[in-house]
């Protein structure tokens, strides 16, 4: 359910700075809460959300801007709030959105020496990258206290249970499987 004190507007990319500046100077939204990004890969756009807050009237507004995903570039807003440059550096690093003119936007911020596509883009396969780059430990297993204690306290019962489970898993009664085993 959407809150009554939170609303969103969508503006074209060329008018975004103008809209945010007007909101800050005349609309009373003097506080920038955050800049967020939504990767709408199906439509080929990044949706930037500038979330502003009016600390007097307790109102929030999100100004959404859709930019092209292939040529991701947005006007910098670091002249409006000094903190914007941090968000813009992070967006540049995590989504690959360029903000020309923003101070330090070219420098790495969190990732050092990243050489793949930006990791927060949805076409970046995190699991595949992690398994390719880091060394997965084989045999991740759980030791559930219930089964663990059963094994220790009632080894015979637990053994029978395990045997039945293995039998069921190996396809007991399934004709093809029994033929293979035979």
């Amino acid at each position: 359910m959407r809150r009554a004190d939170l609303s969103f507007i969508t503006v074209p990319g060329s008018r975004a700075v103008e809209a945010v500046t007007w909101m800050r100077d005349h609309g009373g939204f003097t506080h920038l809460v955050m800049i967020s990004c939504v990767d709408r890969i199906e439509e080929g756009v990044f949706e930037l959300v500038y979330l502003l807050n009016d600390p007097v009237a307790y109102l929030d507004i999100g100004i959404c801007v859709e930019i092209d995903r292939d040529n991701a570039e947005m006007e910098s807003m670091h002249h409006l709030w000094a903190g914007v440059r941090v968000y813009q550096r992070e967006l540049r690093e995590m989504f690959g959105i360029d903000f020309p003119g923003s101070p330090g936007v070219e420098e790495p911020m969190i990732l050092e020496g990243w050489d793949d596509i930006p990791p927060m883009r949805r076409d970046f396969d995190t699991l595949e990258y992690a398994e390719r780059t880091y060394y997965p430990r084989e045999g991740r297993s759980t030791s559930d206290p219930a089964t663990e204690m059963e094994e220790r306290s009632y080894p015979l019962d637990a053994g029978v249970k395990r045997g039945i489970k293995d039998l069921a898993r190996s396809g007991y009664g399934d004709k093809e499987n029994t033929k293979d085993e035979g």
């Binding site: 990732l111 050092e112 020496g113 050489d115 992690a130 780059t133 997965p136 430990r137 991740r140």
Partner: protein, 218 residues
Amino acid sequence: MDDRKMKHRSPVPEEELLSPDAFLAPEERGLFCQDRPEPVEPSKVKIIRDFCNWAQANSVFILAFGTGCGAIEMRPLFTARYDISRYGMFPRPTPRMSGLFIIGGYASVKTMKRIVRSYEQMQNPKFVMGLGSCTVNGGMYWDSYNTVKRLDHYIPVDAYVAGCMPRPESLIAGFNRIKELIKAGKAEGANEYAKNFEWYKRNQRRIIKDWNMPEYNW
């Protein structure tokens, strides 16, 4: 410790390794010793060996470097309730003074670079304890793009404390385990590191892409 051979991985080519002075400015080169670490064999005489191990086990100083969220569990250890100084342990501010490195939880690639530097700056004998599930197999960061899964591929680990998070009691159990290993002369992580130096360096190089430090810095 059985998969040192790296059968299923393509290693970094040999020629990229061990190129001294490649990443340092000329004025910085004299500041670092670039010699490789040498394994230090324990004494042949049993009574001296035992005495050294006993002495080392009773003055294990911890490097106060909180590398992950697990470091929050080290605070209660130092204060009145769990008071780790009862066990002859104490946090030290610099790697030069400390003998035990506790990797407190997840190690991201960025932290890994600092971990490697700090570990190499520690003096022998030095021990490493992996704290939390993340150091064992990645834990909840099993599919993270930025967190290493197995700490023992980058620095040698003597003991693990599993759990997410482990309680201070588990940490004390881990300390006792480390002490047992030291007394038995089995905590030979630093020598492991020196012997398998290329293997460790190759693994570190695979994740630390912007290598701008000496090959071995101490």
